[in-house]
Amino acid sequence: MENSLLILGIGNILWADEGFGVRCVEALDAGWQFGDEVKLMDGGTQGLYLLPYIEDARRLIVFDAVDYGKRPGEMVIARNDEVPRFMGVKKMSLHQTGFQEVLACAALGGKLPESMTLIGVQPEQLEDYGGSLCDVVKARIPDALKVALECVARWGIACSLRTSPAGAHIGSGVLGMDSYEAGRPSAEQACRYGDDRFLDRFRFDAISSLESGQVIPAEQ
């Protein structure tokens, strides 16, 4: 379509702040409505399988949790060429097809969207399995939506406050944020931590400690 726009939230809602992107799209869908040229999508962790949707779009907005080494809750906005893309051929699994690689594939096929905006937030907490967004990250959703809506306006795409009921495709049902949070089993019932070898790297104090060779006491 002439002015097609894909607004994509990516990440895994089961790992706390990793769900930021998906929750942004949910919130956008709940509050605003768009014309047929705009597609809102909960992309989950679909990696390469998102390629067709990206290639079909003239413009792309992506919400995601990003690690740019900022303070938790700080936002990052990258546009067009600033949006990272690369391919890794040594990955072990299709599951390691990160979003950057999807963009690289689109570029290789000559089908990268004409304009792209990445709206990211630095996560605070990832190792809270089954958990929801931390306050500092959740508080950024309105800001992230504001940036997205500015892009939409700048591209001359119509949008208005929602008057009709939200579509059934995003954020409804059991995985919607409210139901997801309310149905969470207790910490005694369900272990919530991850593998600290991997997850610790996302904490600044941990990164600096690692570099100075200290042993980090594990948090339980």
Partner: protein, 599 residues
């Protein structure tokens, strides 16, 4: 541990240790450590899952009718197959019978996952283990065209077409920011294709990436949306109304025709591009028959694609079910997912806690209690940064599942072998395998290899598109007969459930046998256990020291270059490994997806 023998393999960890660890700032999945002898031959292999995966525990107390939606989020690739397994488990527990049409539609979706996943796996993940992208730049487009036309009637094969792709590739390789393929081991002597074959394969890599978008449309049509299609306990959430018009709502003639059209084109792509490429590549690697591992000993499949609805017995399954043990191809053992003595998980070498670790636990009695303590006399590093694991202690987040005490290989090679040895029930599989063996002039034993696994995946793709057409015809016939039922909601309401129930659901995921075991109490999930394919294949050792399929597959493989473990990646990729629940954090410095350390 020094050296010891198990399952016919000799393990020796005295040589230098090589660590291949794709842990990055982005994700954590799978790490292998191997010991090489003085000739760079792998003599010991240790596979470890690097991430806690505890979907089970967060399902406690949830509504069992919603479990599929959570399991769909376990990972990004196998969404549908987890959802299907989950609804089958709940239906089994509650005694819910689904309509024939629902079964057929589920089959079409599941088979669609196979053709999609296998195609993407082959070209996007695995081809570059065999195909040297940089060498493709040196190819002569005219000769490439001749090669392509000699093996297939696929129309996109002119010299100009290949020249054009080569030009794009050149530009891409040169472009600074993308630098896409700079991570590869290009030029490694383990690459054996001539430049023209490389260019042909890279070209089809691009075509496959493009074509996959057609295949996924079927999931959108039948699942209501994509990604994350909808599923339903009791059937499928997809009404049939052939007289309906327009894009919204029910399955109408227009959509059925679109499905038919996509199925035909997928079949064409598989027959004219994927299979000829596979055979062409294989013909250059016929001498590289490493990586068989457990496949010549023990293979397992739960089976899938029930012909008739609600009958999950082996005789009714179009994907074979059974177990071969000890390499005895004359005997297919029956597999019972309910029998507490058959499938059991052990944690002697896994970072979990059982009250009594001498015993394995059947998934209905399964416990998922993390106990992360990297340790052992040979362990080096710290909790947050492991340098060397010690396989004599606990060393993986993956449990060790066993079938009647045996470590098993699951996946496409297991399925195709089980089909091959039962030709009466699976003539298509038998004939196709015989055709491939004849074409490559290799014996059946050549299938017990990395290459054999890769070939089995292609053969299975062919089988899947063939079955898919059959299932589609069946659906059309049923609709023509006036049957439009797609769901049975008799027992939708929890007031109609027993106060306690337990069930098991299974599928064959593209990467292997997948089971979900659920217990329901008072209308809520009391316990939920998933045993996923990569738990079988990526299994660590058990109390007896028996190794898992990944570990076995790496043994005795020579590396052309110790610091470029191309052969390790090639073999592990051939399993299409899947360690679920990827986190996809975006980082601007993603280049270092994989790290190799030689000690």
């Amino acid at each position: 541990m020094g050296s010891y023998e198990t399952q016919g393999f000799k393990l020796d960890n005295s040589g230098k240790r090589v660590v291949v660890d794709p842990i990055s700032r982005i994700e954590g999945h799978l790490r292998v450590e191997v010991n090489l002898d003085s000739d760079n031959v792998i003599r010991n292999a240790v596979s470890t899952g690097t991430m806690w995966r505890g979907l089970e525990v967060i399902l406690k107390g949830r509504d069992p009718r919603d479990a599929w939606a959570f399991t769909e989020r376990i990972c990004g690739v196998c969404t549908g197959t987890h959802a299907l397994t989950s609804v089958r488990a709940v239906e089994d527990a509650l005694g819910i019978q689904i309509p024939e049409n629902a079964n057929t539609i589920r089959n079409i979706m599941q088979l669609n996952l196979f053709s999609h996943d296998h195609l993407v796996h082959f070209y996007h993940l695995h081809a570059l283990d065999w195909v040297d992208v940089v060498s493709a730049l040196k190819a002569d487009p005219k000769q490439t065209s001749e090669l392509a036309q000699s093996i297939s009637s696929w129309p996109l094969s002119s010299p100009g077409y290949f020249r054009d792709v080569q030009g794009r590739l050149q530009k891409f390789v040169e472009s600074g920011q993308l630098g896409p393929f700079t991570n590869g081991y290009w030029g490694n002597p383990a690459y054996k294709l001539p430049p023209e074959a490389n260019l042909m394969a890279v070209t089809h890599y691009l075509e496959a990436l493009d074509f996959q978008k057609e295949i996924v449309k079927i999931h959108t049509i039948l699942g209501g949306k994509n990604p994350h299609p909808n599923w339903l306990v009791g059937g499928v959430p997809c009404a049939i109304n052939v007289n309906d018009v327009g894009a919204a709502g029910a399955l109408n003639m227009e959509r059925l025709n679109l499905i038919k059209n996509i199925l035909d084109r997928t079949r064409e792509f598989v027959e004219q591009v994927y299979i000829p490429d596979l055979l062409a590549i294989a013909s250059f690697y016929k001498d590289w028959l490493y990586g068989g591992g457990l496949s010549s000993h023990n293979v397992l499949s739960y089976g899938d694609i029930p012909q008739k609805a609600n009958d999950y017995s082996a005789a009714n399954l179009l994907f074979p079910r059974g177990a071969i043990v000890g390499g005895d191809l004359t005997k297919v053992n029956a597999v019972d997912l309910r029998d507490p003595e058959e499938i059991q998980e052990f944690v002697n070498h896994s970072w979990y806690k059982y009250p009594d670790e001498n015993k394995g636990l059947h998934p209905w009695d399964g416990i998922t209690e993390p106990n992360y303590h990297p340790e052992g006399p040979n362990f080096k590093g710290m909790r947050t940064k492991i340098e060397n694991l010690d396989e004599s202690a606990k060393y993986s987040w993956i449990k060790a599942p066993r079938w009647k005490g045996n470590a098993m290989e699951v996946g496409c090679l297991s399925r195709m072998l089980l089909g091959y040895v039962q030709p009466k029930q699976y003539p298509f599989i038998k004939e196709t395998i015989d055709g491939v063996l004849k074409k490559l002039a290799i014996p059946i034993t050549a299938l017990f290899s990395t290459l054999g696994r890769t070939a089995a995946r292609g053969i299975e793709t062919l089988y899947s598109v063939h079955l898919q057409s059959e299932q589609f015809d069946k659906l059309m016939a049923s609709i023509k007969n006036g049957d439009t039922a797609t769901a049975n909601i008799e027992k939708w309401d929890p007031s109609r459930w027993p106060s306690e129930a337990k069930g098991v659901g299974f599928t064959e995921a593209p990467r292997g046998a997948l089971g979900h075991w659920v217990k329901i109490k008072g209308g809520k999930i009391d316990s939920y256990q998933c045993v996923v394919p990569t738990t079988w294949n990526g299994s660590p050792r058990d109390a007896k020291g028996q190794i898992g399929a990944f570990e076995a597959s790496l043994l005795n493989t020579p590396l052309a270059k110790a610091d470029q473990p191309l052969e390790i990646l090639r073999t592990l990729h051939s399993f299409d490994p899947c360690l679920a629940c990827a986190t996809h954090i975006m980082s601007p410095e993603g280049q270092e997806l994989s790290k190799v350390t030689v000690r």
